[in-house]
Amino acid sequence: MHGETKTRLICAVLAATAALLPRPALAQSANPPLSNVAFGNVTSLSLDLRRAQNTCSFAGVFPITYTVTATGSGTGNAFTVTNGTSTVSYEVQWAQTANAASGSNLTANVALTNQSGGGIVTGLTCFLGLTNATLIVIVRAGQLQQATTGSYSGTLSVVLAVQ
């Protein structure tokens, strides 16, 4: 096969494959999307509140790494929830595998870099509804013990970006 013809063929295959994949710049949590973290009624002040959810992150076919940046709705983008009078801090972790028990701690508004999530296989993983990452939100018991009663809420914003 002539060299230029071979190159065109490879490009065509790649383009066709890419067309099947999730939106490429970053298929952020598209499959499945990140869900609200509703812990419900606190029944013990001795236990941490912990919620992990799987998602799929895809950096694109050629970009192989991405960054995760999270911000909270507290002062200075802090990861906090409030009942209107009292504030409770929470922790956010990100793992590069699904069903992870723990992950890398995120600092508010600071990118967690070099997260692996590129290539055709990763893209197909997300496209097929499988997962490859875990978002974990933790409210420590020590924080709960110092908080006053009430309904607490806050917004967590997560941005995945091609590195």
Partner: protein, 170 residues
Amino acid sequence: MRVRGIAALAATIGLAGPADAATNIQVTFSLPVYAQINGLNDVTFTAVPTNTDAVNSQSTCAWTNSLTRSYRITASGDGGSGTAFSLSATGGRTVAYQVGWAGTSGASSTTALTTTVASPTFTSAALTPTCTTGPSSSSTLRVTILAADLQGMTSSLSYTGTLTLLMSPM
């Protein structure tokens, strides 16, 4: 022509893709009202002289997460009809005692409590259930046997009773 083709491919696979998207999620929970007294010890009087009141004061950790961190104390004994502040010994002998509570640690004076009657409102300085953060204690329990009552007791007998304290957050 080849350059344009490569550029188109690059755009397709994301090298020049759209802006990064943010996902916003809500983090929520509901925290009920809790209250507890931590660090209460049994009260023991031994070899008590009868010419002066027998007094035992102890600092405790009374904590609540109510919005104002306020609470009331309802105390009850197990003497008399069942709730009197009194100790009993063999032979049906009894002796009354007094109960006081203060909303601060190490208090020299306390508010007298009446059995089964809620106290006035106290406000706690405790920040955590066991006072591991903030002040190490936040209240004072004072148990007294008046000298006049001591003088009516029979020597060599052991008098015992149970004092129950109920903390109600406000």
